[in-house]
Amino acid sequence: MEKTTSPTIEHKQRLTISNLNFYYGPKQAVFKLNLKIPTNRVTALIGPSGCGKSTFLRTLNRMNETIRNTRVEGEVLLDGQDIHSLDVVGLRRRVGMVFQRPNPFPKSIYDNVAYGLRINGYKGRLDDLVEHSLRRAALWDEVKDYLKKSAFALSGGQQQRLCIARALAVDPEVLLLDEPCSALDPVTTAKIEELMFQLKDSCTMAIVTHNMQQAARASDFTAFMLDGHLIEHSETSKLFTTPTDPRTEAYITGRFG
């Protein structure tokens, strides 16, 4: 079914997904998916709407478990450990997530970033970590004088970077981004992409995107999904220039999807 050019031999794998099936009730949404997500690289997931890429992304931090009547089969290894054997709280601390629409809490900017630390019982100096996280999300300079202000006072792009800062505060090894720019304008999108580039030093990222230019610009590896199947996975430059599967080619040249 899939043609994986094993592009990741030279890299360490942060996540190794084997034979992953996912079901919403009786309806299967992800079929026998195998994928390796390399450490400190950006992996983009592309494919038409409803192809299961968001569903797949949400299996990686077990967010789908919050939806009733769903079932997952197969293995997802995070640094060699199956995530289904891990405590879900600990897993989600290690695998953070940023959503399609900015979803800050109705709290102050500071409290938003500190939230993950507080609920995880962090006892150290919050101030330093809040600042550090906001700096990593390239938001510190814009908000440092308004930390006590409501997060809702920020613009959409700032809110999304705040959500990234909030996810980064607990220092995750992996950051899952579910179409993080689809509600943002091009300038703000560029900022987020720049940010992802900087985060590569310390963080493994998987990004779901509808925007193929974004996948081409911001990712190192790209996986193309169709109807719940992984069709092709290789280095981004290779996938977009010389795709091996005709369906991939059809999709990236805009013939469907």
């Binding site: 989600r92 959503f99 629409r101 993950g116 609920i119 607990v170």
Partner: protein, 281 residues
């Protein structure tokens, strides 16, 4: 030139606009008529004495309803302590945890409870609290009002919790929060203004209830001797004074009505204020 058809349409439009406008005006004016009538009839009896003195014995003029004002507040306190937590938690259950069938039953029962005539709830509290100890008490009145507070609180809590966007819950859970932690630290705070408003409105609604108090809290012409003893309340006082054959009592009943309405209006305004502020966050 306008055809008869168009003239007919235009005039129908005009007539209907007028009718709806008159109806809307009637709705607004009822409240102001009541308020004006209360001020007209009760304003003169409203003095400092009304708020600080006990009722005078029959035949003497003057005196106040200090005991009834305090009594009403005590009864509302009891109703709040007994009804609000149950209503709040049940509302949380419906909005956050409930499965299909059981939630439907709870929701339906809540609506039925909301529709139970207040006097029936009074009888229930009477047989539950008054009969076993064989005397009326503030506690019994509190139970009756507390029961009435529950359905309103449940439904408003559920409604405001549902209004909290689901993506906030996701955000909290993606950070490793458990379901309950998500509710306690994100969802409830986000809905707190609305929930508080619902609670205030529920209390304001039962503040004017008379029927369930008649044979539970009963009434008292003096200060209540404790939670286990009969207690005065403004609505019952209004009832007693309004049907008495003394002009002075009639005036005081009007004044009590004015105070009660002012209390309810104030808590409504307070609720709106809280809601407006919480939305601004």
């Amino acid at each position: 030139m306008s055809s008869p058809r168009i003239i007919w349409r235009k005039s129908l439009n005009y007539v209907m606009l007028t009718l709806t406008g008159v109806a809307a005006f009637a709705v607004v004016s009822v409240l102001f008529l009541i308020l004006g009538y209360l001020i007209w009839n009760g304003g003169t009896s409203l003095s400092l004495n009304f708020f600080t003195q006990l009722p005078k014995p029959v035949g003497e003029t003057g005196g106040g309803m200090a005991n009834a004002i305090v009594g009403s507040l005590k009864l509302l306190f009891l109703a709040a302590v007994m009804g609000l937590p149950v209503g709040l938690l049940a509302g949380v259950y419906l909005a956050e945890f409930g499965g299909k069938t059981f939630s439907f039953i709870v929701r339906y029962t809540t609506d039925l409870l909301n529709g139970v005539p207040s006097i029936v709830i009074g009888i229930f509290a009477y047989s539950l609290v008054v009969l076993p100890v064989k005397h009326f008490s503030a506690l019994a009145g509190g139970v009756a009002l507390g029961i009435m507070v529950i359905p309103i609180t449940v439904r408003s809590t559920e409604e405001f919790l549902r209004a909290v966007p689901g993506n906030m819950r996701e955000a909290a859970m993606a950070l490793g929060a458990s379901k309950w932690k998500t509710i306690a630290t994100v969802v409830l705070p986000a809905a707190s203004g609305g929930i508080l408003t619902g609670m205030l409105l529920a209390l304001a609604r039962v503040a004017g209830e008379t029927a369930p108090l008649l044979f539970t809290a009963f009434g008292n012409r003096f200060w209540s001797q404790g939670w286990g003893q009969p207690i005065a309340s403004l609505p019952v006082m209004i009832y007693t004074y309004a049907v008495a054959p003394y002009d002075d009592w009639h005036r005081q009943a009007w004044a009590a009505g004015l105070v009660l309405l002012a209390l309810v209006l104030l808590s409504n305004l307070g609720a709106r204020f809280i809601l407006a502020r919480s939305k601004a966050v």
